[in-house]
């Protein structure tokens, strides 16, 4: 800035007093200064320490949630699975004939055929395939083998039959064919491998008995169970079980809401700031407006949620749990932040620039749009991004408008039911089986924090990149 205000060092107080007192004053002052410095250092140490503990606990838990295990198993989409009544065999013949005839059917007919059995009908087939892979005879009903079967099946995720069913719904041509599938193992298996459940945990208090644990050890040792990155965290929808829970719905919901905030809060906020800063007369009314905007920034976010409930849902009759409502609520919340940041950025542009523009005959609007606004832009962008980041992490108002529901369909428009990233995390954190959900919850927090970090770094980058000296 041009305003090089000389910060005049204060005249030492001692200089004013009588000479004899000077020495005492200096010693005391030095001690006071040292003490203040120590307070500061202590405060910083506490803050950094707390942050370190927080990050450590999240990352150590989250690292477990970011990996997953699975076992590759061959599964045959057996025609018998579909053909309970035997009518398909009657129609098309058996074996190769049946498959050849099926291949000739139209897409719709194929879909109709594979749609016939219910999801749960897949369970015995899935279990049989799993047992076969582990070298256990699925048909031997001797007590010894039955025990083995039970121990093995405890490892399998209950979600697997649904996944197998979904797979063939998506691609009916798999009918009758052997497919290599990544079998999902139950959350307990991962918990055991992560050390959350150990053999020392009393057997009665865990779902996996000693036999199952021994089997896991064996499967890991022989490479049947493999670790990999858990991309499903980003690509899966919500689930009732931690092993295939994903954030897709929340990611899309949050993305829509950010978009709405960007489209609603930023233009309104910037326009309001330009008016208040550059055009508005200084009078009582603008003073009141100013005070209110600053106060608005301090209003608890849940109040905005209640406001949204009253205005957008009850009065405007928008659908509950939709990103449009969430986005509007977050826009209201972000508005003061954007306004305050933008006004600060406009204020930081030296008045001499405005005078220069006016002096050569620019109109006020030209001065603002040609000179002031471009200079304030990095500050405005920074403020906007920080406002967006705040909005992204906001949970309370979204709970009020019901964005924590379990949504079965991935939202395609902002008017569809959805959830948000932070409210999903809130839901995960309040699940019953805390130990099983903790890793995936922490992993989700890592995802959220990563987004926030990216946004904040962008803000820092923009500030550095466009910072101008004048």
């Amino acid at each position: 800035m041009t305003d090089t205000t000389d910060t005049q060092t204060a005249v030492p107080a001692a200089a004013k007093g009588p000479k004899s007192k000077q020495d005492i004053g200096i010693g005391r002052r030095r001690f006071a200064e040292w003490r203040l410095k120590m307070y500061g250092l202590f405060a910083i140490a506490v803050a950094v320490g707390a942050l370190a503990v927080l990050l450590y606990s999240i990352v150590s838990q989250g690292a477990k949630g970011l990996s997953t295990i699975d076992a590759e198993i061959e599964f045959v989409y057996d025609p018998a699975l579909v053909d309970r009544e035997g009518d398909l065999v009657k129609r098309f013949g058996e074996g190769a004939d049946l498959l050849a005839s099926f291949a000739k059917l139209s897409k719709e007919e194929q879909a109709a055929v594979v749609d016939r059995p219910r999801k749960t009908s897949y369970r015995p087939y899935v279990q049989a395939a799993f047992l076969k892979r582990l070298g256990i005879d699925p048909d031997d009903e001797s007590p010894e083998n039955l025990k083995k079967q039970d121990e093995a099946l405890a490892l399998l995720s209950p979600r697997m039959d649904v996944l197998v069913w979904q797979k063939i719904q998506q691609d009916p041509t798999l009918f009758g064919k052997p497919v290599k599938l990544q079998f999902l193992l139950s959350g307990e298996v991962k918990a055991y491998l992560d050390g959350i459940i150990t053999k020392k945990t009393p057997e009665a208090r865990r779902a996996l008995k000693d036999g199952s644990l021994a089997l896991i050890d064996k499967l890991v040792a022989d490479g049947t169970i493999k670790y990999r990155v858990r991309w499903e965290l980003l690509t899966n929808k919500q689930s009732t079980d931690p092993e295939d829970h994903g954030l897709l719905t929340g990611l899309i919901g949050s993305a829509y809401m950010m978009l709405i905030v960007l489209v609603v809060a930023v233009p309104i906020g910037v326009a309001a700031s330009i008016y208040l800063e550059e055009y508005a007369p200084k009078n009582q009314l603008t003073d009141i407006i100013e005070v209110n905007i600053n106060n608005l920034a301090a209003v608890p976010s849940i109040v905005f949620g209640l406001l949204g409930l009253a205005v957008f849902i009850n009065f405007m009759e928008l659908e509950r749990s939709t990103p449009i409502v969430g986005g509007l609520v977050l826009s209201l919340m972000t508005l003061p932040t954007v306004i305050i940041a933008t006004r600060a950025a406009l204020k930081a542009v030296p008045p001499s620039i405005r005078e220069a523009a006016l002096g050569v005959g620019a109109s006020k609007t030209q001065a603002v749009f040609h000179h002031v606004l471009p200079l304030a832009l990095p500050g405005i962008l920074t403020g906007t991004i920080i406002g967006l980041a705040q909005a992204l992490g906001e949970t309370a108002p979204l709970l009020v408008i019901g964005m924590n529901a379990v949504v079965s369909n991935v939202p395609t428009t902002p008017f569809d039911e959805s959830t948000s990233l932070p409210s999903q995390i809130y839901e995960m954190a309040s699940q019953d089986k805390v130990a099983l959900w903790a890793p995936v919850t922490s992993a989700s927090i890592i995802v959220l924090l990563s987004f926030l970090m990216i946004m904040n770094l962008t803000a820092v980058f923009l500030r550095r990149r466009f910072e101008r000296k004048w």
């Binding site: 041009t2 220069a356 050569v360």
Partner: protein
């Protein structure tokens, strides 16, 4: 009343300069208020064409305030109110029909502190002509820019780096760039508020030469705290004190034989 002062002022300040073709600006009974405070008290003055008029006076006496009335820069200050009459070529500049934006294209201003835009040297000078639509093509614009920079005595220094930022120049160069920017719109009157206050003696003398040079085409009003500078560059000098115009006369008369005691005290350094 107005007529009387006009004749009185005309009689008091006969056009001695052979180049002077008459009054460019006339101010009558101008009062300026900042809120309740009266910063300028009943000032009447004539600014001659193709003449350098210097405003001198102790700090806070209202020189800048009055100067800013001449191109209505005071309009930008909320609490500032101007009464009285200021005419440019016979037309009242505070008339409702006058657009201050157009006025400022005719009455240019150079500020105390160099304030180039954080843009290239070229764009700094080009800004005025561009917003006023003075040129039809790039060649015309280039010509105006070269001419303005030449007149501001800095063309040779910057002709090879026109696309470098204006803020990267030295203080003196920046001030000359601001002068070039101000004259690029070919104003008829150029107001300069202590243009050399931040400059070293060499840059100052360059600016003084420049002012003398510009006098051929413009009417110039300069505020200065330097008696020597006022004596060197101006033909007319106005002495302000506490918002009053104490004395306004030929520079030579003010500095050798002022009629007011307060003027005498000020130029001999007894106060201010």
């Amino acid at each position: 009343m107005t007529d009387m002062t006009t004749t009185a002022a005309a009689a008091a300040a006969p056009a001695t300069d052979p180049n002077a073709v008459g009054y460019k600006m006339t101010a009558r009974n101008v009062d300026v208020y900042y809120g309740e405070t009266r910063a300028i008290k009943d000032v009447s003055i004539d600014i001659l064409d193709r003449t350098v008029t210097a405003f001198i006076g102790p700090s806070g006496c209202g020189k800048s305030t009055f100067l800013r009335c001449l191109n209505r820069m005071n309009d930008t200050i909320d609490i500032c109110r101007v009464t009285g009459e200021i005419k440019l070529d016979g037309g009242d500049i505070y008339d409702r029909s006058v657009d201050p934006v157009q006025l400022r294209a005719r009455v240019g201003m150079v500020f105390q502190k160099p304030n180039p835009f954080p843009k290239s040297i070229y764009d700094n000078v080009a800004y005025g002509p561009r917003i006023h639509g003075l040129t039809r093509n790039k060649a015309d614009l280039d010509e105006i820019i070269e001419m303005s920079l030449r007149r501001a005595a800095m063309w040779d220094e910057v002709k090879d780096r026109l696309d470098e930022p204006g803020t990267g120049l030295s203080g003196g160069q920046q001030q000359r760039l601001c002068i070039a920017r101000a004259i690029a719109t070919s104003p008829e009157v150029l107001l300069m508020d202590e243009p050399a206050s931040a400059l070293d003696p060499i840059a100052t003398s360059k600016i003084e030469e420049l002012i003398d040079e510009l006098r051929q085409n413009f009417s110039i009003v300069i505020v200065t705290h330097s008696m020597q500078q006022a004596a060197r560059v101006s033909q007319k000098t106005a002495f302000f004190h506490l918002g009053n115009l104490v004395e306004f006369d030929d520079t030579s008369k003010i500095f050798t034989n002022p009629s007011e005691e307060r003027t005498q005290d000020y130029i001999s350094g007894r106060f201010g």
